[in-house]
Subunit: 651 residues, 2 copies
Amino acid sequence: MNRVKKYFIKFLPSNKSITIDPNYNLRQAILDCGLDIDSSCGGAGTCGRCVVQIIEGTVETKDFPKFISKKEKENGFVLSCQARVKSDLVVYVPERVKQKGKIEKGELGERPSKIYAGISKREFSSIEVKPWIVKEWLKVEKPSFSYGTSDLFRLQKAIKESLGIEDCVVPIHIMRILPNVLREKNWTVTVTVDKWNRTLIDIQAGEVDRKCYGIAIDIGTTTLVLYLVDLENGDILSVASEYNPQIKFGEDIINRIVYSTRKEGLNKLREVVVDCLNSLIWNLLLDSGVDPDSIVSVVVAGNSTMMHLFYGVPPRYIREEPYVTVANRFPNSTAEEVGIKHIRNAMVYSMKGVASYLGSDITSGVLATDMACQKELTLFLDLGTNGELVVGNSEWMMGCSCSAGPAFEGGGVKCGIRAVDGAIEKVWIDEETYKCEVEVIGGGKPRGICGSGLIDIIGEMYLKGVIDRKGKFNRDIGNRYLECVDGDLRYIIVDARDSATGKSIFISEVDINNLMRAKAAIYAGIKTLLEEVDLNVYDLDRIYIAGGLGKHLNIRNAIVIGMLPDIDISKYHFLGNTSVTGAYLSLLSEEKYKKSLEIANKITYIELSVNMKFMDRYVAGLFLPYTDLKDFPTVEELIYSMNNLRGRDRR
Amino acid sequence: MNRVKKYFIKFLPSNKSITIDPNYNLRQAILDCGLDIDSSCGGAGTCGRCVVQIIEGTVETKDFPKFISKKEKENGFVLSCQARVKSDLVVYVPERVKQKGKIEKGELGERPSKIYAGISKREFSSIEVKPWIVKEWLKVEKPSFSYGTSDLFRLQKAIKESLGIEDCVVPIHIMRILPNVLREKNWTVTVTVDKWNRTLIDIQAGEVDRKCYGIAIDIGTTTLVLYLVDLENGDILSVASEYNPQIKFGEDIINRIVYSTRKEGLNKLREVVVDCLNSLIWNLLLDSGVDPDSIVSVVVAGNSTMMHLFYGVPPRYIREEPYVTVANRFPNSTAEEVGIKHIRNAMVYSMKGVASYLGSDITSGVLATDMACQKELTLFLDLGTNGELVVGNSEWMMGCSCSAGPAFEGGGVKCGIRAVDGAIEKVWIDEETYKCEVEVIGGGKPRGICGSGLIDIIGEMYLKGVIDRKGKFNRDIGNRYLECVDGDLRYIIVDARDSATGKSIFISEVDINNLMRAKAAIYAGIKTLLEEVDLNVYDLDRIYIAGGLGKHLNIRNAIVIGMLPDIDISKYHFLGNTSVTGAYLSLLSEEKYKKSLEIANKITYIELSVNMKFMDRYVAGLFLPYTDLKDFPTVEELIYSMNNLRGRDRR
């Protein structure tokens, strides 16, 4: 018989199953089945995280000794992204570490006085809360034989008299209910009007509650954050956040763009993020008790790729030279048009980005810092997978993105993880014993080390003489925490018996190398931007640091390793998630939103990937702290004095 | 057992069946089943057209001797709208006279030179064909590292350079295909742009055919008419028309408004008309071979009720004092938004009306006549169920509607039918024998008499002395065609043996009375409008007659009965369907469409139903031709000379 063979796969412990064609990719089958699997490389076979165990049946795969030991291989462990199905299977898919709820409400749900980034409460209170969507009570004139104009005309007249809006657009779905709503409470209505777009968004009979609420959304590559906001006074009533569920299709932007080019890939990416936003919105509603119909507007910020995916627009050319977006701002839409449920009356507005790698999250952040309105020279730094920088003041602004790589988010570093519970966020090295002391997020035994911990360990190793300026281990010092595995030198941060995984947590020379590339890129970016306008780091009046990394960052160590400029530490300020703050401010004020559009238009974007000066400075940054120590005078001094100290002690 | 009883009805000859609750209305059950049944009164029990025969089972009903004889009753005939189901039934539903295809293509599908109403070809050719939707070939700049703007920005720039449109709006569904379309043919695209609304409607890769087509639609209470138009040169490529399928829910506007207030009534009315338009559009496409994607715009005209129903907006208050519309113009919509299929790229625009009973069909007609641009004083008269009038010139315009009643469309007259095959359209009476000679639409035996025939018969009867000035039969003259049935005098126009129905075709005193009311309303409307501005009928430079009635109308007889002013016949012009012509002109020219909006705003509407002067003139019009014969000097003269003639002959 010529029947096409199909294979049946059963997954444990979920007991889910799927029927697929021969040679189908095993990781894809897991995803198709709706199961979650860690895979920061998006299936390229380079991160080694999608290991599963074949209980029964056969797959075709290669050896990956880097990720799977010989013994593990014998026990059926395979890299699922590199395995092709050759028979019916029973597969054990290890449950992914649950990441839900790790983002604490307290960290995000701060009141405006704090979250208006870097700005004091006094300054915040000067913001005029004046959103462009308003609710108003209207008394519409009754028709009569002597005034027999249409309902629409009389409504438009009342809107003009009350709100000063000429020829307010009334969409067809409102026209369909208009006559009954007008007559229900004797020609008294409550209208919701988008003043900016001169459009009627909703109409209700009678004088109903005029409370309006809005939702500010930041769609991060890693995290989604939502604020539910009272548009009358700016109060944040509820906060919700969740890891971006697109992570299962690839941990970083590039892997998601690759996934989006597959058949139905873009739709899938869009669906999962929209579904997740819908459930977060539902949580906001439950938590706050706010009537869904009184939510009138949503402002969305995110990097260019996330925005493309949210709006269902192909992000493919963000990744292909010369790296252009389809759009930097997306059309004003109804909630329905973008798939947002529960809040049928809301309009959705997008913040505007600058370029493929300088998205609306950055514009939003710049808005939040208020730097575009001030004379002082400010450097704004968003530290995530990419380091994005904007430097300038009320006169001019320049921005760039330096692909720092995922090292600071735990990628490309063997024991690296994101800043979640169990992550080492701070490290100290005992100068005598070289033993590490660590601080773990959430307390308890550590599972790995996150960005701020990595910066600490590099800085500490350098200061304590464990590594040299090139990032190589100093084999001369007796160090019982240094070990060699397969020719790769490792420094043990936490012993196997003290870790949550039962394996030691370490940092290798390869890891150090990746981290040095990342820090070099950021510093080179800062230098390049400043030198474009004949300035240097000492001209900076302040440095704002946004993004997840900033929260636990030890600035001193970041300077020691040459990632951040060696200037007065008091000039540094941590701001947290400025993307959602900017969206929040825009929700509250038409003026602020318009300012953000102005900011996006004003920032001159420098493409570093083709900038030779950047390349030179990047290479110069592959030393600790930098090739030319004159750039880091306090570090030079520190090292000198510590060496002296060590010399004296040993003497 | 407490089960709720249900009854099963089977309809013959269709063999369709339905299960309904006890006491359900039988006519409604027929409609629910998707069957067609004649019912011009919409189920009020007053037209007597929805008679069916109960073959088996029981219904509860009253006697309607006016419509059903005792013998018919014994044979199971009932008025279905007045019958409540009391058991399972078998019901014979007489097949409705098929009305499809009665509207001949030739009558509607005339070329612009003719259909540009009342205007010569020379004048028509002076119209600049300049629609507001255009297709243009564009070369979009390629992105580069030195010019890394978004695809959207570069597209907007190209549109601006080529079409002069700043910040052209690109909707999200186009943004989703934009990057691929731009790159498919090396940055060459064909865009379809709505210049007026500054919106991109479509984009295709490469330099494709720039042909654009549009569809002009007139939604009449009785008839739907569509033109498929080449937007480059104004050629009408195909014409389609059909009776408005809403007729089965009520023949006139009032009955449809009543039906719309029922549960799901509005939706049903909307659905049937949209479905019918979709099938007509499909026919246009098949007939012309035009690519559906190249149809870019649709312009719709119709009376206010038809427009409300088409857009799904409740028309209820059109019928309730003080008679106001929800809107006189509906929002620009995509074809999808209003339910139009097949032509996914088209935008739908509505003509603008003036008031509840002076709709966009009249504005469209006024546009078609060009009277708003001329100095001559013109009376525009649309004769249908309502007579709508507009009088004026380039300086001013006034309009009104006089509820002529459905008499001229065959309603309220026992043997009246619409102007379809089998309708008597012209009548002459032999002065000696009083026998009628008739002309039948489509030839063959007559089935009834339509509007123009009714005007002829009244005029002839009056001129030949069969009726007096009050419309009463002159019993003094020997007349073998006069007979009395149940106390109602009838004049036999066609003997039973010469008619298609096997019954005689006659006109009764009651019929004459209804017709005199209708003609009185029209003339009173004309007088009232003119006198509002201190003018009289002799000041009129011309009279344009639009609407179905006009086509076969004998102007002389219309003057004789006092319906139309007694002025020089050469001032009268028949125009046919001016509503579709106006929509057609608007399709072709932004300037014309804007002119039509101006016309709608300019026409001063006079509400006659509360106008005492109108009432006086209406009452004065209940004579033939009018109370004061001085208004109709040529008729007075004619009657005088005919009486003399008769006197002489008899002498």
